[in-house]
């Protein structure tokens, strides 16, 4: 057991990453009906902006603020300018369109900042919880806490508040909601800004926990889809649990003899293995 404990603990850090990204994806899906492929790219550009601010010796708080503002602003720009033009197409096409947006962001980030070994250092890196031989830095603890906090907060927002109700209505049937007098643009704005904020926070934490590299951060969204899928694109608690579970399993997979080079496939294998347990939803998602 003591052989596995270090990997279990370090898997929690990775799991927090997957859980956070999964929650961000599900939130946007539930509020706009779009699976956002650009989630990672929005976070990445925010993280690079934060790095530039920190590199210019400006305060931490400003770096965070600018990073979040960037992600939220770009997300809002997409949501208000481009997403409405596709609103009448089917969900798959709308999701594929976000891939175009992701390419633009990723290309710009790589071109503007170039390739150079960078590290996004956060003040929470300095200390951590000592659990046996492993150290869980406060950044990862923060990641876990944020995942749970966001899950609770967004859950409450969507189920208990009026805005949440409007967001769900809009995602369900856009034309009908508009006919009923829902202020489509207003609700859209809230949904995309919220998702952008999520992307920004996820991007900062991911850039710290994983590495500050635009292409990798952009395509980390794909394992995060596994967590979102296990939550049926609907339930936030299950998404968080799935994300953490996948992270822990991926870390533990190192201990399996011969499987270690393939351990990055764990999110995908878990998602595929869970398929038979899906009820016959035939949900036209």
């Amino acid at each position: 057991m003591s052989d596995y404990l270090p990997f279990l603990i370090s898997g929690l850090g990775l799991g927090a990453v997957y859980a956070l990204s999964g929650v961000g994806l599900v939130v946007l899906y539930r509020s706009s009906g779009v699976l956002n492929f650009a989630f990672g790219a929005l976070g990445a550009i925010g993280a690079y902006v934060a790095w530039s601010v920190l590199d210019a010796e400006l305060p931490q708080a400003l770096a965070w603020a600018v990073a979040l503002a960037t992600s939220m602003g770009l997300s809002l720009a997409y949501g208000r300018l481009l997403a409405p033009r596709l609103a009448h197409r089917d969900p798959t096409i709308r999701s594929i369109a976000t891939l175009g947006f992701a390419l633009i962001l990723m290309g710009f980030t790589e071109w503007f900042w170039g390739e150079q070994p960078r590290r996004l250092v956060l003040p929470t890196d300095a200390d951590g919880l000592e659990l046996g031989e492993v150290r869980l830095t406060y950044t990862r603890v923060l990641g876990l806490a944020l995942a749970l906090g966001m899950m609770a907060g967004i859950g409450l927002l969507l189920s208990k508040t009026r805005t949440g109700l409007k967001m769900r209505a809009l995602a369900n049937d856009r034309d009908l909601s508009a006919l009923l007098g829902l202020r489509v643009l207003q609700v859209d704005t809230v949904a995309w800004v919220l998702s952008g904020a999520f992307a920004g926070v996820c991007g900062l934490l991911l850039a710290n926990i994983v590495r500050l590299q635009a292409t990798l951060l952009t395509f980390l969204v794909i394992p995060a889809f596994a967590a979102a899928m296990l939550g049926r694109l609907n339930s936030l608690p299950i998404t968080v649990a799935a994300g953490i579970g996948i992270g822990v399993l991926e870390a533990l997979a190192i201990t399996l003899p011969g499987f270690a080079p393939f351990r990055t496939s764990v999110p995908f294998l878990v998602a595929l293995a869970a398929l038979p347990f899906f009820r016959n939803d035939a949900r036209k998602a």
């Binding site: 390739e115 070994p117 492993v134 870390a251 270690a260």
Partner: protein, 424 residues
């Protein structure tokens, strides 16, 4: 990367003395770089086409070797050219995609009919194009080669020593300095790299009673901490990092967070030797992290090194990095230029150029530890020695042992070729 970062930072008295001794000459050469014929006359004859394939846009930017070679050829064209003929240097980006690498190599070799390739630096093009180069008899004096195919091809001769040789030297140094008995070598699991480059330390270690295990990682993995934990669970004395610098920094960050640097020494092969790395990894690694260099340090006071810097200042863009890749590009361009200068300018064709390049022997530079050669062996790995350096928190300090030569058992055929050529 500007010169102000390259303030001489050596504590070795010999280096300091050499620096003083060369000060007079140094200041003279720093002002005016020499290249080719150095006669100040622009070349106006029929151009000679030379190509290069680099991996520019992708996981990393490997184009600095070609930029340095371009600067060298620009200097040559303004200084008499190749006996009056200018060099038309064409660089193509393979975008780290082997399919694209075959396409652009076809463009250069078959459409543009280049005489040779020089300064190529690509992760993917060696495997993709080696056969085509052999079939078309084009010699490639590459800047930097990485996977095994670059060091196992008839027509491909990289100026650098390669990750296997570099890791072997790092292992040898670690055993010598830290009396290590057990080592762990971490490498990406890319097939022609992961099962090759860490075998050098392993095979060398087997002959000297040192055990070296290999951990192959997925470069796209998001979890550096688990890898570090896996490595430390094997209870090594030394961990050899054999990964690109983009992955190295987060791995060392993870190791720092787990405070592994206290009980385990970390060494690395050449990719770590870069101006940005000591600052990126931070003060924790002061004195705890050593790296191998494939060439002499960037701030070496050798004549040729200073010539390289002066040449970059005069002919290269300000944004072109002055890193070890640039050193290799400069050397590759210089080698090809000097070989071409020996040929009859009216009769320069591809077959003749390939023959002239294969005949290169005793190419000396103070950037290199030993003279370089090409030869007509079945594979090329002429650069197989290098010095070590240690991180001092903000920069690199060169270690006192000077150049170490790799005793990698796989180099046996190279050594045999060297004996046959008479360079050993």
């Amino acid at each position: 990367m500007s010169i102000k970062n390259l303030v001489p930072n050596t504590s070795n008295p010999l280096h300091v003395l050499a620096g003083f001794a060369l000060l007079g000459l140094a200041s003279a050469t720093h002002a005016d770089p020499t290249c080719g014929l150095s006669n100040g006359r622009p070349a106006t004859g029929e151009p000679l086409a030379i190509g290069a394939v680099v991996g520019k846009t992708g996981p990393d930017d490997f184009s600095s070797a070609a930029s340095a070679a371009a600067a060298y050829f620009k200097c040559v064209n303004q200084n008499g050219g190749i006996n009056g003929r200018p060099v038309d240097y064409i660089v193509a980006d393979d975008q780290w995609n082997p399919e694209t690498a075959t396409q652009v190599a076809s463009k250069l070799v078959k459409d543009r009919r280049v005489l040779a390739m020089t300064g190529s630096t690509s992760f993917v093009e060696c495997g993709a194009n080696a056969k085509m180069y052999a079939q078309e008899d084009v010699m490639v004096i590459a800047g930097v080669g990485v996977p095994r195919e670059c060091f196992n091809a008839k027509n491909y001769a990289p100026i650098n020593s390669g990750p296997r040789v570099s890791a072997t030297i790092a292992a040898m140094y670690a055993v010598q300095k830290y009396q290590a008995k057990k080592m762990v070598c971490i490498i990406p699991n890319i097939p022609s790299l992961g099962n090759w480059a860490c075998e050098g330390p392993k095979e060398w270690g087997a002959k000297h009673g040192v055990v070296s295990e290999t951990i192959a990682i997925d470069p796209g993995s998001a979890d550096a901490t688990s890898v570090m934990l896996q490595a430390s669970a094997m209870k090594p004395d030394v961990i050899i990092m054999n990964v690109p610098k983009g992955i190295l920094v987060p791995m060392l960050a993870a190791a720092e967070q787990q405070n592994l640097g206290k009980k385990i020494h970390f060494v690395s092969s050449a990719p770590a030797y870069n101006i940005d790395v000591p600052k990126a990894i931070g003060p924790y690694w002061k004195g705890r992290f050593d790296t191998n260099l494939e060439f002499q340090p960037l701030d070496s006071q050798g004549l040729d090194n200073k010539n390289w810097l002066a040449l970059m200042d005069k002919y290269a863009a300000k944004s072109d990095p002055r890193d070890s890749f640039a050193q290799s590009g400069y050397l590759a361009a210089r080698l090809v230029t000097e070989a071409l200068l020996k040929m009859d300018p009216k009769k320069i064709d591809r077959a003749g150029v390939s023959k002239a390049l294969r005949a290169v022997k005793g190419f000396k530079s103070d950037i290199l530890c030993k003279p370089f050669y090409v030869g007509d062996g079945l594979r090329h790995n002429a650069n197989n020695s290098g010095p070590m350096a240690s991180s001092n928190g903000s920069n690199w300090t060169v270690a006192s042992g000077g150049c170490l030569t790799a005793e990698d058992p796989e180099l046996a055929d190279i050594r045999a070729d060297e004996v046959k050529m008479g360079v050993r």
